[in-house]
Structures are given as structure tokens and as C-alpha cells.
């Protein structure tokens, strides 16, 4: 009898954060999540930039950066109205997990995934991200409860009607359920309309009802399908933690300065109860999944919940992205997964390749992430294919040809110029799209592509301040320092003087003028002592000037502000090695790598520290990891040449690396 085929259940919890999860797990409040920590593999997962959910969840589902999948924002032009609509599945330019798995003859499902509407026709089932939106008032006497589910929000289509009966309307959320989250409901309900707090409190409760209803609908749909349908892969996306956090994280303890005592007393438990609610749902999902399923939980980013919360509200019309943390949650549990282990160095791009490996499918070479082989008890043999994009089997084409919304938007622009269409609201969507694309290029080491995209954007919004900042950053990365300074001149100094000084400091650093750089960074520190990254930059300049005490203080201050500052940890490691404490250096560099794996310089620093503690083979491995990321890293080649010559007695390899180093720096040159 053959063993049942392993299945994969991928659960997305938008904005879930270990800083919230860990204390709740330790207090026994999240027993199901505890199983992942104690019986599975768990750790941080690094997000991508820009930190926008539709882009991130599509990268999770495809294993690709956003410039490949082309979901570049929350909205897109609606080709028939000239206005905008939520981004759709037809805009995605590559296959998601459910397409790939379905194409390969397995059954796949997706529930509520971002940008999944209209439902794609796969071998399996899809409930789109429009299905649960309550667009009308509740009328229990009507067959569709008074609000018609959108057409094409469920595949197969014949499931739309039965599935629609599982929906939960905000009006169905009972008072007792709200009271699980909010204290003082009696008092709130006693407020009169004339009371200044009436509107704000009722709006908050209305928001919570709506989000709970939406979340419950997703869960009802997912659990029904898990029981009734055969599946090999199922992806379920819950956005409630993020959306509830944007409304209520400012009330989470400790009380923030702008929050009144009264509101703090009312709403302080909302986030905790939200997480506990998700643990309840998780338990049900784990039971339904059964022993042959690997369950993966992933969040696209974290969410500040402590002293790092920005001043003011997290509301989506205020400064939502400032509340996002760069590290989310990744946890796996199930057959073939290691037990009680920590996971290091994962990014969102690794989720799709890992799912494919768990299902015994090859990873595509055109994916930007890789399978996390360290989670397997017995890592499978590596398999790869060039791409899945040419697979023609399976996913049936849509009944109507997919419209490219960006082409449609340009057509509307033409009609507008001809005088047949009025104001075109889609222009802003195009501007945001280009800005997001430029950010993707910048964050993935492609500043030239970022500049080209910004040039297109500049034609439309020449005075956009944010655009100038991005452009300055791109020019800096390209080493075009004079041009960078010219752009900085166009940014009003009064708008954000510390930012201007930060740039001047980076330009001076690039020119090797550490004295000017230090002066600039100290001005930033004086004006904005808690500015993200400033103490790390100061530490790096102090290191270059060999001011080791000052460097150590700066890095420690950076870590006081944010214990997950990978660059500060790496810098501290360098300081420790200078202080002849290589053991502490090794620990600091390893902590840094655990947070951000893709930094070649950190691996080189680790290698140097390992060599000093006598772990020469591990040191060589660290240098090779650095070269795997950056093949032309001169210092890595030089260190390997010395190691192979003196400690590892391999003159051939020593000669190879020596020659490589000489090619890179010139015979008598110093490395960069």
C-alpha cells in the first residue's frame, strides 16, 4: 500500500508578527501556534520592498519579484470606466502556485488570496478576494442574503450559490462577540448622538464587526472546501490581523502618548484577542488538514507593536506603511518537517519554491527564491525546470480574453484627449504603479532600471518630492554623486532637513570624506535621535575612522532602538573582532545573518571571525557563501587564498583565489 501523498496547506496571516505571537505562545494563549514552534520549524521571513500587500502576496504565490508578476499596487485602471478598481488576477503576468500545481495534474485551491478575482479556471477551486465583501444590507429573507456575491468570485461557477450561503455579514456579528474584543460596551452603547465620542466609537465598532465578518466568511469558505473537495494544495489568505492592526494597534499596551486613557481602556485587548481568534481558527484548519499535510504559516511583513510604533495613527489613510516591520512570520509543521528547529535567512520569495519541493515538484529557474531545504528532515533531491510559464496543460483560458488594464488606461487617455471621456481617475494609479516599480528595482540592486522608470514618472509629475528622493537614492547607488547632489538641491531643505543631511552623509562616505560624513550624520542624530538607521550609519563611519568605542556605542544604541537591525549586529561583530573578542564577533555576525541572509559582507565578516577562533573550514564555507552571492568580492577571494595556503593546505585553490583577487584589484591595488 503506497503512502498517502503529502499535501500542503499554506495559510497567510497578513502582518502576523513574532513580537505579538511569542508572548502569547509563552502564556499558553495560542496552543496551536505553540505546536509549530515546538514540533515544527519556525523563524523570521524577510519582506520585500515596497511593503504593499497585493505585491507581497503575489510574490509569495509566484516566487518572483513584482516586476515579473506585474501586480504593482492596490488598484489598477478599469478599462471601461476610466476609474480604478482593486487589482485583478488578469493583471498577473505569471503563474501562481495554484496554476502551476493544477497544470501538473494535482488539485489546487485558493481562498481569498490577494488579486485573485476573477476566479481562474484551475483543476480545483478558487474563492476570490471579492467573495466576502458585504456590498449590501443584510436581508435574511432573500436567497442571497440581500447581497449578491460578485459574478466569477467562485470557481467552479456552480459552487457560487451554495458557497454564498456560508458568508457572514457584519450585521450577523453579535454583541457578545464584539465584547470579546472591546471593554466598556455598555458605556459605549449609552453614548448619545450629541456626545463627541459617539461617532468615533461607533465607527470603530462598525469596523471591527466588518473585519470579523470578513474573516469568518473566509474561514467558513475554506473549511467547507477542505472537507468537501479533494485537494493537494490549498492557499488561504486571512487579512484580518493587518486590517485590525491598522485600526487598533495604537491602543495595544503600553499606552501611546496620543491615546486617551478612555480609549486605551476600551480597545487595549483587541490585538491580543485577534491573535487568539486566529489560533482558534488554526486549530480547526490543522484538524481538517490531517496528518498527511504540511501546514505552512506565512506573513508578508510584521507590524510594530512596541516602542517602535510610529507616532500617531496606523490608519490606512494616515501612514500605514510606517507601521510595517521588515520581518514577518514563517512556520512549518507536519510530515517530513524537522521538529523544534529555528529557521534562518528566509525571504517571501522562498515560499513558493518550498511548497513545490514539498509536493515533489521542481522549482523553476526563473523564480527568484529557492526551496528552504533546511526545513526538511530528509531534504529532497533538487529538481528544477527552466520555467512553468510555457506549461499549456490544465488551467483553461478565461471565457473572455483578459484585458490589459494598463493598455486600456492608455486607450482611455487617448479618448480623453479626443474629448470623449472626462476626468481620468486612473492617472494616479499609473503614477503609483511606476513609483512602486522603481522601488522594486532599487530594492533588488537594479538602480539603473529604477532611474529609467523614474524618468517616465518624472514626465508626469515633475515636482513630486518622493520621486526626487528615489532618484537621489538611485544616483547614489550608481555612484553618480554630482548628479545626486544636483537632485538634492531641488528638495526643499525645510521639508526634511535630516533626510538631506543623511544623503549628504552618504555622498561624502562614497567620496571617502569620512569627516564630512560624520558631521552630517551627527546633525541628523541631533535633530532626530530616533531616526531609523542613523546610529548604524554613525557606527559605520566611526569604524572607518577607527573610533572603536564610538562605533560600539552607536551600534548598541541602534540595537536598543531595534534589536532586529541586521547591519548594526554586523557592525558590532566587526568591533568585537577589533577588540580581540572573535567569539562574540561570531555570535553577532550569525545573529545578523539569521535576520538578513543576503548580505555578502556579513558572511565575509563571519568568515574572518571564524578563522580567528580556529574554525577554518567553517570560515572557508562562509567566504564561499559570500562569493555565491557576489562572485567578484575581492576580500573574499583574498581571505580564501590565505586560508587555503596556510591552514587548509590546498595550494591549487589558494592560487586560484589569489589570481582572482589580483584580477579584481590590480596587482598592487587595494580592494574596495
Amino acid at each position: 500500500m503506497t503512502a498517502p501523498r503529502r499535501r500542503v496547506l499554506l495559510i497567510g496571516w497578513d502582518a502576523a508578527d513574532w513580537k505579538m505571537l511569542t508572548p502569547l505562545i509563552e502564556a499558553g494563549e495560542m496552543p496551536n501556534m505553540r505546536r509549530f514552534v515546538e514540533e515544527g520549524v519556525s523563524g523570521n521571513v524577510a519582506t520585500l520592498s515596497p511593503v504593499l500587500s497585493p505585491m507581497l502576496w503575489t510574490s509569495i504565490a509566484t516566487g518572483k519579484y513584482a516586476d515579473k508578476h506585474d501586480i504593482l499596487g492596490f488598484v489598477e485602471p478599469d478599462g471601461t470606466t476610466g476609474k480604478v478598481r482593486p487589482v485583478t488576477s488578469t493583471s498577473r503576468k505569471c503563474k501562481a502556485l495554484w496554476n502551476i500545481i493544477s497544470d501538473r495534474g494535482m488539485r489546487a485551491g485558493a481562498v481569498n488570496w490577494y488579486a485573485s478575482h476573477p476566479a481562474e479556471r484551475i483543476d480545483g477551486f478558487v474563492v476570490t478576494d471579492r467573495f466576502s465583501v458585504a456590498t449590501g444590507a443584510l436581508d435574511p429573507d432573500k436567497p442571497d442574503l440581500g447581497w449578491t456575491p460578485p459574478a466569477r468570485s467562485v470557481h467552479p461557477g456552480e459552487c457560487l450559490e451554495p458557497m454564498s450561503k456560508l458568508r457572514v455579514h457584519p450585521a450577523m456579528i453579535q454583541r457578545e462577540q464584539v465584547a470579546e474584543f472591546i471593554d466598556g460596551l455598555d458605556e459605549i452603547e449609552g453614548l448619545k448622538k450629541e456626545d463627541p465620542e459617539f461617532e468615533s466609537t461607533h465607527k470603530k465598532i462598525g469596523e471591527l464587526r466588518m473585519l470579523l465578518a470578513h474573516c469568518t466568511t473566509v474561514h467558513m469558505a475554506a473549511t467547507a472546501l477542505m472537507q468537501d473537495e479533494a485537494w493537494d494544495f490549498l492557499g488561504i489568505y486571512y487579512d484580518a490581523i493587518d486590517r485590525i492592526a491598522h485600526s487598533f494597534m495604537e491602543y495595544h499596551p503600553p499606552r501611546m502618548a496620543h491615546v486617551s486613557e478612555r480609549d486605551f481602556a476600551r480597545y487595549r485587548r483587541v490585538m491580543t484577542e485577534c491573535y487568539k481568534f486566529h489560533d482558534l481558527m488554526l486549530g480547526r484548519l490543522m484538524n481538517l488538514a490531517g496528518p498527511d499535510t504540511v501546514v505552512m504559516i506565512v506573513s508578508d511583513h510584521g507590524f510594530h507593536c512596541d516602542h517602535l510604533r510610529p507616532e500617531g495613527s496606523a490608519a490606512v489613510d494616515q501612514q500605514p506603511v510606517a507601521w510595517h516591520r521588515p520581518f514577518g512570520v514563517l512556520a512549518l509543521w507536519g510530515p517530513g518537517i524537522k521538529k523544534g528547529e529555528k529557521l534562518y535567512g528566509a525571504t517571501l520569495l522562498d515560499v513558493a519554491p518550498t511548497v513545490l519541493s514539498l509536493l515533489g515538484l521542481p522549482v523553476a529557474d526563473d523564480m527568484d527564491g529557492g526551496a528552504l531545504r533546511q526545513v526538511f528532515e530528509s531534504p529532497p533531491e533538487s529538481q528544477s525546470v527552466e520555467t512553468y510559464e510555457h506549461d499549456a496543460v490544465g488551467s483553461a483560458p478565461e471565457a473572455e480574453p483578459a484585458e490589459d488594464p494598463w493598455v486600456a488606461q492608455q486607450v482611455l487617455k487617448q479618448l480623453q484627449a479626443l474629448g470623449y471621456v472626462g476626468d481620468d481617475n486612473a492617472d494616479k494609479a499609473l503614477i503609483d504603479r511606476l513609483r512602486n516599480l522603481a522601488t522594486v528595482f532599487m530594492s533588488t540592486g537594479r538602480p539603473q532600471r529604477a532611474l529609467e522608470t523614474l524618468a517616465e514618472l518624472e514626465a508626469q509629475t515633475p515636482d513630486d518630492l518622493g520621486l526626487r528622493v528615489l532618484k537621489a537614492e538611485a544616483l547614489l547607488r550608481l555612484g553618480q554623486l554630482d548628479e545626486c547632489e544636483a537632485v538634492l538641491e531641488l528638495i526643499p531643505a525645510e521639508d526634511d532637513a535630516p533626510r538631506a543631511d543623511l544623503f549628504r552623509g552618504m555622498i561624502a562616505t562614497a567620496r571617502g570624506d569620512t569627516e564630512t560624513a560624520l558631521a552630517c550624520y551627527k546633525r541628523v542624530e541631533a535633530a532626530d535621535p530616533d531616526r531609523a538607521g542613523i546610529h548604524t550609519r554613525l557606527g559605520q563611519i566611526y569604524m572607518r575612522r577607527q573610533m572603536w568605542d564610538d562605533a560600539e556605542r552607536a551600534f548598541e544604541r541602534a540595537l536598543e532602538l531595534d534589536s532586529d537591525d541586521a547591519e548594526a549586529l554586523d557592525g558590532l561583530g566587526v568591533v568585537y573582532r577589533q577588540r580581540k573578542n572573535p567569539e562574540a564577533a561570531v555570535l553577532a555576525h550569525m545573529k545578523s545573518i539569521a535576520l538578513v541572509h543576503q548580505r555578502p559582507s556579513t558572511h565575509v565578516h563571519l568568515g574572518l571571525a571564524l578563522a580567528e577562533v580556529g574554525r577554518v573550514r567553517w570560515a572557508a564555507e562562509a567566504f564561499h557563501v559570500a562569493l555565491g552571492m557576489e562572485p567578484d568580492f575581492p576580500l573574499a577571494h583574498r581571505c580564501l587564498a590565505e586560508l587555503y595556503a596556510r591552514a587548509l593546505e590546498d595550494e591549487e585553490k589558494a592560487a586560484h583565489h589569489r589570481a582572482r583577487w589580483r584580477d579584481l584589484v590590480g596587482v598592487d591595488g587595494d580592494e574596495a
Binding site: 478599462g79 470606466t81 486607450v411 484627449a417 479626443l418
Partner: protein, 201 residues
């Protein structure tokens, strides 16, 4: 139920203004605000009402102003027609190369910039918009008639007779067809893509 509104639709520059003139001669009064004066692109006028561009926000005027009359509603605005009225649609189609050339000529005259797209992408976009509008008309179940621009100019009396039959008018086809001036057929193309841009209604 009040009299149906005769909607003249299609992509811009497919002969929608010409069809409005034909209907006027056939006794179906146009709904127009005369805001856009005749010019080199439409020497006899546009026969438009600017309120069509904001139908999505405000449509109450339609039920007062339009029953029994003709209204030009270009393809992209069709989906804003309110359900409360009844319609019959005359959908104009034209060779897309001619449409693109005509739109380009008009843009040049206006001194405006159109789509930032290579020609083949623009063509695809216009095809999609055209097909989408025709699917909408079919889905709504409106009575409809497709009229091809080149056939109208090539054999005006026959095509006008079809239109008069569609709107149940007793007007004389020859008399109405006299308003069709084939010398106004500019940007003529040799390419025949009557059926290339999506299903017929």
C-alpha cells in the same frame, strides 16, 4: 414604458456623428448640447451631449430628455446607461486602421497627445474596448443593429434602409441617404477587419 432611446455607439471616429445626422433626417431628434461646434474633423457637427461623459455619476436627465430621441454614447460609456430606460442600439464599426488614423489626425489638429503606446498595442486596446462594448450590448439584451462605416459610405441607400427598418421609420431611404457624403471618407484603409474586433452583436 416610455419610448425607447436610440443609442448610437461605437468607438470614436467610426461614423457615430454621421449616424446621428441620418437619424435626425429620419425624424429622430438628437439629444445634443451643441457645445462642440463643427470643425474640420466633423464639418457637420458632433451631435453630442457632454452629460454622457458623467452618466456614471448622474443619469436622471436621461429619462426626461431622451425617450424617443437619439443619443450618442461612445463605447466606453455604454455601461453607465441606467436600467430604468429602454434602449435600441445602433453600433458603428469601422476598420481599426482607419479609426486609429482618424483619431491621430484629430489629435494632431487639437494639438493633444494620445496614448503612450506602440501602434500594435493601441490597436489591441481599441479592439478590446470595441469587443467589450459589443459583449455588453449582447449581455444587456438590447435590440441592436451593427452598421459598418465603409458599407454606409459605399452603398448609403441600402444601409439607411436597414436603419430605417430597425427604428421602424417610414421615411424615404433615398431622401435620408442624401445626407451621406462619401467625400468625407478620409483615412481610407485597404485592410478589411470587419470581423476582427470581437463578436458581432
Amino acid at each position: 414604458m416610455s419610448e425607447p432611446i436610440t443609442i448610437v455607439s461605437g468607438l470614436p471616429r467610426t461614423g457615430t456623428s454621421l449616424m446621428m445626422q441620418i437619424l435626425e433626417r429620419a425624424g429622430v431628434a438628437p439629444v445634443t448640447d451643441a457645445l462642440r461646434a463643427p470643425d474640420a474633423d466633423n464639418p457637420r457637427g458632433y451631435f453630442e451631449d457632454a452629460r454622457v461623459m458623467t452618466l456614471g455619476r448622474e443619469a436622471a436627465w436621461l429619462s426626461e430628455a431622451a425617450p424617443g430621441r437619439a443619443l450618442k454614447v461612445v463605447a466606453v460609456h455604454l455601461q453607465h446607461l441606467p436600467e430604468s430606460a429602454s434602449y435600441r442600439v445602433i453600433y458603428m464599426r469601422r476598420n481599426l486602421d482607419e479609426v486609429m488614423a482618424s483619431q491621430q489626425a484629430m489629435l494632431a489638429r487639437l494639438g493633444k497627445t494620445g496614448a503612450n503606446l506602440p501602434p500594435d498595442a493601441l490597436r489591441r486596446g481599441l479592439e478590446q474596448a470595441d469587443a467589450s462594448a459589443q459583449r455588453l450590448v449582447a449581455a444587456k439584451g438590447w435590440d441592436s443593429l451593427v452598421v459598418h462605416h465603409d458599407k454606409l459610405l459605399g452603398d448609403p441607400e441600402t444601409e439607411v434602409a436597414r436603419v430605417l427598418g430597425f427604428i421602424r421609420s417610414a421615411a424615404d431611404p433615398a431622401g435620408v441617404a442624401a445626407c451621406v457624403d462619401s467625400t468625407l471618407h478620409r483615412q481610407r484603409s485597404s485592410r478589411d477587419d470587419h470581423d476582427a474586433s470581437g463578436p458581432s452583436i
